[in-house]
């Protein structure tokens, strides 16, 4: 298995499966084809949820199932502990959709996963998917069509809309990764450049970015440094957002020239990325290249 590419043999557990979101999304993921082999829950009186066997902790779940991937659907203040538990149990990739993880917890989580060589996707991510194969998290089925376009996004909804319009236009995705909207995240765009460069199904790459931080700038540098061999497209939200206000995502906060739209666009364009002002223009640009 080459993470973060997953398939129907990838064994996945869900931490927090007995919560409202855990019950709903374990069913939806399983229906989509994800190989959910276990759930972690403190609930003692239940044996399984949606036909998925329950375990008291990650260690027991991993031991019994051989799972290598975990999706953690626990509260924001419980997330760091859940990640520690997963790493200690030998999980190799963790997806954390929960919104609102404190940033200093995320700093600790990132150091923890990095030192253990574990891939972390999140926080505040809708998850990731290999279209028509398996998904980890919330990505809506209507937006998932299999195809040649690699997709990375900070935003959930904007990527749903983009994926949906692309699918309607006939363009499908290869590996879709929601890197998440938090300022300190696990995998950043730039970390994934080598993965998309060598992924055979991926013929082009789309990033959906937004104001705040410097993920887009670092991505642009990584493209150049690694001579990324495939066409790259970008859509950046927040061109007209006010300074000093976090626009829904904790990461989407600009102050002074920090995190602003203009610097991101300039950096991407200098690396040969096609940057679009509207969804329609992006869809047509991508379609013209790939169809």
């Amino acid at each position: 298995m080459s993470l973060p590419r997953i398939d129907r043999s990838t064994k996945v557990i869900l931490q927090g499966i007995s919560g409202r979101a855990g019950r709903l999304h374990s069913r939806l993921m399983k229906e989509y084809g994800t190989n959910l082999v276990g759930g972690v829950s403190p609930a003692r009186d239940v044996k399984d949820i949606n036909g998925i066997p329950l375990f008291a902790d990650c260690a027991a779940a991993v031991k019994a199932t051989g799972a290598t991937v975990s999706v953690a659907l626990v509260g924001a203040y419980d997330l760091l502990a859940a990640m520690r538990e997963a790493v200690a149990a030998g999980i190799r990739m963790i997806v954390t959709p929960t919104e609102g993880m404190p940033v200093h917890d995320a700093l600790k989580a990132k150091r923890l996963t990095r030192e253990a060589g574990v891939l972390w996707i999140g926080g505040s991510t809708p998850g990731m998917a290999v279209a028509e194969t398996a998904k980890l998290g919330f990505l809506p089925d209507v937006s998932l069509k299999s195809g040649p376009l690699g997709l990375m996004s900070k935003s959930g909804t904007l990527s749903y809309e983009a994926g949906f319009r692309l699918a309607q236009r006939g363009v499908g995705t290869s590996v879709w990764i929601g890197v998440g909207g938090d300022p300190v995240k696990g995998l950043r765009y730039s970390d994934l450049v080598p993965f998309y460069a060598q992924d055979a199904q991926t013929r082009a790459l789309l990033i959906i970015g937004e104001i705040g931080g410097r993920d887009e700038e670092d991505f642009a540098e990584a493209l150049k440094a690694q001579a990324f061999p495939k066409p790259v497209f970008a859509l950046i939200a927040g061109r007209t957002a006010p300074e000093g206000v976090a626009m829904g995502h904790a990461g989407a906060l600009t102050y002074g020239s920090h995190g602003g739209y203009a610097a991101k666009r300039a950096a991407l364009e200098a690396s040969g990325v096609m940057v679009y002002d509207t969804l329609n223009a992006m869809v047509e640009g991508v379609a013209a290249k790939l169809l």
């Binding site: 709903l24 939806l28 924001a76 203040y77 609102g100 404190p102 940033v103 200093h104 700093l107 600790k108 150091r111 919330f138 990505l139 809506p140 209507v142 996004s153 900070k154 935003s155 959930g156 909804t157 904007l158 990527s159 749903y160 809309e161 949906f164 909207g181 300022p183 300190v184 995240k185 950043r188 730039s190 959906i208 937004e210 104001i211 931080g213 410097r214 993920d215 670092d218 939200a237 927040g238 061109r239 007209t240 957002a241 006010p242 300074e243 000093g244 206000v245 976090a246 626009m247 829904g248 995502h249 904790a250 906060l253 102050y255 002074g256 020239s257 002002d277 509207t278 969804l279 329609n280």
Partner: protein, 383 residues
Amino acid sequence: MYLLEHDAKQLLARHNIPAPQGCLITQPAEVTALPAGPWVVKGQITAGGRGKAGLIKKADNAADVVARAKDIIGKTAKGRTVNAVRVEQQVHDASEAYIAMMLDPAAAGVRIIMAAQGGMEIESLPRDALQTASAAPDVAALTATAEKLAASFPGAAGKALAEAGRAIAAAFLAEEALLIEINPLFVKADGSWLAGDAKFVTDDSALPRQPAQRALLADVCSAYVETTLKDAHGCDYVVVDPGGEIALLTTGAGLSMMLIDEMRGAGLKPYNFLDIRTGGLRGETKRLVNVLNWMREGRNVKVLLINIFAGITELGEFSRLLVSALKAVPEFRVPVVARLVGNGMESARAVLAEAGITLHNDLDAALAEVRRHLQTANPGDAT
């Protein structure tokens, strides 16, 4: 959240980071107790560039202070209205240095930047005047790195930067800060120092466990409207243009931002940003009713555009909640344009049709309907 300078200095004082003596004034007519003068009168907004915006003025006597305060309060800059000024002692016989600590998302650490020159934007300082390094986010590592950087500056500046570095390291971690920037850091000949200005960005996600920060939400200046709303109501709402014509009922931060960018690019005037979080409605109209009431404050709002891309939410159920919420706020009487995509479109179409609302699948078609309503409302307007 991006703190007002005054609030930042109050919080920093708890961590032994001193500032020139100062006080906050919201009613210039009621100025009584001032620290010894002369003073600088500084308009308080949650954005930088205040000097250029004319929000920072010197004053030599008490009458001057009142006049300057009256002049500055009520001004708007960067879309924010000034509700208060900080009146602060001027500092003389001091040099200006620079110190900042900020998140380093790539290294999962904290970046420290120091310079013996300050008082201007960090971007304008010569590169070789800066010392910078990244450290692990724990007190020992951060303090050691700050001391090492400070050691490269001779004399009073080096002493002040080392001491300020230790204090800021402790504050940064205890307050779970995203950024603390002291620029200028006033340095006296004996190495004693004061924070001349303070830029302090905190983590909204940590608010529930940071009571001193949360207390600022009840602040007299009401500078943190967005964070206050999110704290109380669980959704993100920002008025992006008080004179805007189109109220937006939208979900998803990225999609809502993009919609605003695209509308502005097409010459339309959105009033607000909103991430309603349909998944958090839990079958109740309360959040929708609140939002509709906030939108009534938009004096030029002429149409309401609903744009929901629902991955999970059942749109029939959402439409029923929406129609009930609209009925509950009869004072908000503007045409409603709806564009929904997701599960349960047929039942959504039926529910909305009964309320006289056309459901669009296509965003461009919805925007065309928005334009028709604006033309009806502004017959002389070419938009």
